[in-house]
Symmetry: C2
Subunit: 164 residues, 2 copies
């Protein structure tokens, strides 16, 4: 006799907000353009490396193009870097893909009671601090250029392939 018991486990439970993967996809794209300069980088080719749909890539490319980070050839296809690697910081990419608005990482509740002393003053006091926190985070992104990131990436690629 065979007894098969199937237990369904729902992954649900503790989700929370996250900054859109548009950012990491953008970094991935720029890395590809830098590391394989001779490829014909169509959105389909890039999508194959990122592991997603070509349209997603075209959307992110649209942001990067709008920000002046890449050139995209319509028709014949293919993208190239529009700026030197050491002239692109991670913050540039982060801003390009518009994942978080300037000074608005934190959503502060916006209808506090103005006739309550705390309600009337909490917003400004908090906002000041939260913007500071946001800037600290963005400062780290600003301190790293795509050139540095690609160097680390290249080293890791070499190390790995050497280790095989």
């Amino acid at each position: 006799m065979n007894l098969v018991v199937t237990i369904m486990v729902t992954t649900k439970g503790c989700y929370a907000m996250q900054i859109s993967s548009r950012f990491s996809v953008g970094v991935h794209i720029l890395s590809l353009l830098a590391i394989n300069p001779n490829e014909h980088h169509t959105s389909e080719w890039i999508a194959g490396s990122v592991g997603t749909n070509p349209v997603i890539i075209r959307r992110v490319l649209g942001y990067l193009k709008k920000a002046g980070l890449v050139h995209v050839r319509a028709g014949s296809g293919g993208s190239t870097l529009a700026r030197e690697l050491d002239e692109i910081t991670l913050l540039d990419v982060y801003r390009a893909v518009e994942v978080v608005e300037e000074g608005k990482l934190f959503h502060v509740h916006d209808q506090p009671n103005p006739s309550c002393p705390v309600g009337a003053n909490i917003e400004t006091v908090l906002q000041l601090l939260l913007v500071k926190a946001q800037h600290a985070m963005e400062g780290v992104l600003e301190a790293v250029t795509m050139k540095e990131l690609v160097e680390v990436l290249s080293n890791q690629i070499k190390t790995k392939s050497a280790g095989e």
Copy 2:
């Protein structure tokens, strides 16, 4: 002759992700408990200052309670601080309300192609940096205690009421 022109402007256009206002609501609640220690802080009373629904307040109070930051009296109602103000950092509140998971502020695309050198290595390289950025942000929150925040808040309240 009267000519009335109504122009509808949709606010839509440049939204982006934000960290839930549960955090700012949590800070608001703790400030109220600290500044008006003699009040009977029912969820309804607090909701009046925050400008929202009592259930929202009870939800956030649930998080704060779970984290050991407040005591909540069921039945008779009312909440009080469970810890000294200088023993509560903004990071404690932020963690309590579970707005962002540890090390997961950034969503990194998770199906890069392992047979592509870039795809196979980008995740680890990026993740390292992004966690660093997240920590920088959280470090700012950790450096501020509720005591400090309430002091700034109190001063601003005094200044304002004196200026009238």
